[in-house]
């Protein structure tokens, strides 16, 4: 059981541990600073200082709210794939591609053999962990998603691309573990986009995490999970962090058809709406989870990263998660 694994790692977490998916909104001063940095008006060290300030703010905020497993809030990141691609040899920046409406991003291009550039996230993890005694998650993007969200001009096919990336991400996982990180989240939001490729995603996660001494979480969202469940349970992780509320808990029906064998970080608040859910509605979501899953398997968090909300909205939504978890612990 994963709870035993947590204890073996020296982590004593309460029932219904609370956490976050990863990103938090950047405070206004940081948004402005990122724009100024792009226009070469401030230096990299000036930007880093503000990112550290914002990270410290979010660590302190999570502590005050009573969250159990913290995240650094990704104050230093824009896009979850581009952040790694920009630092990894083998990638070049691609041209602009539309993501929706009038939003565009530079989609990375794999143009050579991908390599690990040395620790990418470790210093940020160490900094965040130095600010709290509570465990801070290491936050990575999975090989399958990086493959799916990049152009590939080098490898012969999608599988070999994902496997090459997995070897690189594994080195980052090892570096996080060496630094003392015990809970590592490897996000795979592209997990369900091609159900026929689930075996590739599983093989890549095996190559990334299997045999390493940490508690692994993966986050997936916007997914057609009905096409990959229960096969997705073979992913080499201990905990699936899933967007439950935005989909009106319809995933629970799937879990009825086949037991959910891993821990779950159960999204109890919708991150795509400015509106704050009713406290009782959030509590009912946990109740629903308990009709399918043993209490020892359930973690409580928002559906997805909170970066698109305002700072105040994000804090209010996190407060709701903590209140719901505490109600059930008692």
């Amino acid at each position: 059981m994963s709870r035993e694994k947590l204890e073996q790692l020296g982590l004593k977490l309460p029932l219904f541990p609370t956490t976050s998916v990863g990103s938090f909104p950047k405070p206004d001063y940081l948004v402005k600073a990122r724009g100024e940095f792009n226009k070469h008006k401030i230096s990299e060290s000036q930007l880093r200082e503000l990112e550290r300030k914002a990270t410290a703010f979010w660590i302190e905020t999570q502590e005050k709210l009573g969250i159990d497993v913290l995240v650094d809030g990704e104050m230093y990141r824009g896009d979850m794939v581009a952040y790694f691609a920009e630092r990894m040899p083998g990638f070049t920046e691609g041209g602009l591609v539309r993501s929706y409406g009038n939003r565009y991003y530079h989609k990375p291009v794999i143009s050579g053999e991908v390599e690990w550039p040395g620790p990418v996230t470790v210093d940020w993890w160490k900094y965040a962990q130095s600010l709290t005694k509570k465990p801070v998650k290491g936050m990575l993007t999975g090989a399958y998603t990086i493959m799916d969200w990049s152009f590939n001009e080098h490898y012969s096919d999608r599988r070999s691309t994902a496997m090459a990336l997995a070897a690189v991400i594994r080195k980052e996982v090892e570096a996080l573990i060496a630094a003392g990180c015990k809970i590592i989240q490897i996000d795979e939001p592209a997990l369900s986009v091609r159900p026929e490729e689930l075996p590739i995603a599983i093989e890549a996660m095996d190559a990334t995490a299997k045999g390493l001494d940490a508690y692994f979480v993966t986050h997936a969202c916007y997914g057609a999970f009905e096409y990959i469940y229960p096969g997705m349970l073979d992913l080499a992780v201990d905990n699936f962090d899933l967007e439950m509320s935005n989909s009106d808990l319809h995933l629970l029906e799937l879990f009825r058809s086949h037991p959910f064998t891993k821990d779950i970080s159960f999204g109890v608040v919708d991150v795509h709406t400015h509106a704050l859910e009713d406290k009782d509605a959030v509590r009912r979501r946990v109740e629903q989870a308990l009709t399918i899953l043993p209490k020892e398997q359930i973690w409580v968090d928002p559906d997805c990263g909170l970066k698109t909300r305002t700072v105040e909205e994000a804090i209010d939504k996190l407060r709701l998660c903590v209140a719901a978890a505490k109600a059930f612990r008692n």
Binding site: G94, G95, L96, V97, R98, S99, Y100, G101, N102, Y104, K107, V109, D148, W149, F151, N152, E153, A190, V193, R194, E196, Y222, H272
Partner: protein
């Protein structure tokens, strides 16, 4: 080429990138951002859309295509661009479009979707006019054509939800099939209107059906009003062909069913299954095909000789030895410079075929 392979056409498959890296290619993006800040009007957006549409058409002609589109520059996405123009449909949150990392606004059907105007007729008229104002390449006189593109009723329905309003008006649209048939009715009227405006070839995109083959019967029933609309146009003495395009999944398992549909052309995405070409070479096709042999989802440029070889072995197996060679899907999933390079690649493929024919003769 016409002297050697009269049935071979270089064709767009739909969309084209709306932005590029230079300031002049950012005009639409910047104008929309300025509108959001209250610094521009919707008239400015229309100007920017017109400019980028002209550029998209000019790029396709410059690259040597025979059949072009307007690049779908005005489309927010392939779903809400249609659904938002219907009564009793609300446009809601973002959802991932099939297996892409592109998001569309999901329509929620609250009653029977009802047409209150045309979908793309004005866009088609503008594009045809814009094409007419471009200098015609010397070898293309009388051969250049522009085709309008519609998202098909099944894909629209699959990407929508139903939330009946409770007043009884939405009874027929509460199911997937109900939505598909309601969308089909609206699209059938659009086909008639496009034919009236002069369209002789209309592309209907149904990517969702190859991903969800369990819905085939619904898809087929929803296609019937569209082919009936074409037949009505034809019976009035006008020329009109419907080209059904599928992409973003392996279409090989459905190949035989696809080419048996009562459409005039079937466009296929060859990038999901390397054996599809072998299958077609073995089985042949009872109708002309759209050959999506150029990968519209990856920046890597294919070897034109390899694609030319594929075409040479497939063309004799297609009815009338007629094929529409193009990208595997719309090109807006690529950066603009790469999208143009993929179009230029099509011309290189044609040159490679010409070279072979010359060598053979």
């Amino acid at each position: 080429m016409s002297a050697t392979s009269p049935g071979l056409h270089l064709s767009s498959t739909g969309s084209y990138p709306r932005v590029g890296d230079t300031a002049e290619l950012q005009v639409l993006r910047r104008t929309i951002a300025a509108l959001d800040r209250g610094e521009r009007t919707t008239a400015d957006i229309l100007d920017a859309e017109n400019e980028m549409t002209r550029r998209a058409i000019a790029d396709q002609v410059k690259a040597g295509l025979d059949i072009v589109t307007d690049g779908q520059i005005r489309w927010y996405d392939p779903i809400s661009h249609f659904a938002a123009k219907l009564d009793n449909v609300q446009i809601k949150g973002l959802l991932r479009f099939l297996d892409t990392n592109f998001y569309f606004r999901q329509p929620v059907v609250t009653g029977k979707p009802a047409r209150r105007g045309t979908f793309v007729v004005n866009e088609y008229s503008f594009a045809r006019n814009a094409l007419g104002h471009l200098p015609t390449p010397h070898d293309k006189a009388g051969k250049l054509a522009i085709k309008p593109v519609l998202t098909g009723p099944y894909t629209l329905a699959k990407c929508s939800l139903s939330e009946p309003s409770g007043n009884g008006s939405g009874e027929s649209a509460t199911s997937l099939e109900g939505r598909a048939l309601a969308y089909a009715e609206a699209l059938a009227a659009e086909i008639a209107a496009l034919a009236q405006t002069g369209a002789e070839l209309i592309q209907v995109d149904e990517p969702a059906v190859i991903k969800y083959p369990e819905d085939w019967a619904i898809f087929e029933r929803a296609l019937a009003p569209l082919t009936a609309a074409r037949d009505k146009v034809a019976s009035a003495g006008r020329k009109l062909e419907l080209a059904l395009y599928v992409y973003f999944h392996d279409c090989a398992p459905l190949y035989e069913k696809l080419v048996a549909l009562p459409v005039d052309i079937v466009g296929l995405d060859f990038t999901y299954n390397p054996e599809l070409a072998d299958q077609i070479a073995a089985e042949g096709s009872p109708k002309p095909l759209g050959l999506g042999l150029v990968d519209a989802r990856n920046t890597r440029l294919e070897d034109p000789e390899v694609i030319a070889w594929q075409i040479e072995r497939l063309l004799p197996k297609l009815k009338g030895e007629r094929a529409y060679v193009g990208p595997s899907a719309g090109l807006e999933y690529l950066p603009r410079d790469r999208a143009f390079a993929k179009l230029e690649l099509l011309s290189k493929v044609r040159d490679a075929i010409k070279g072979t024919k010359r060598a053979a003769s």
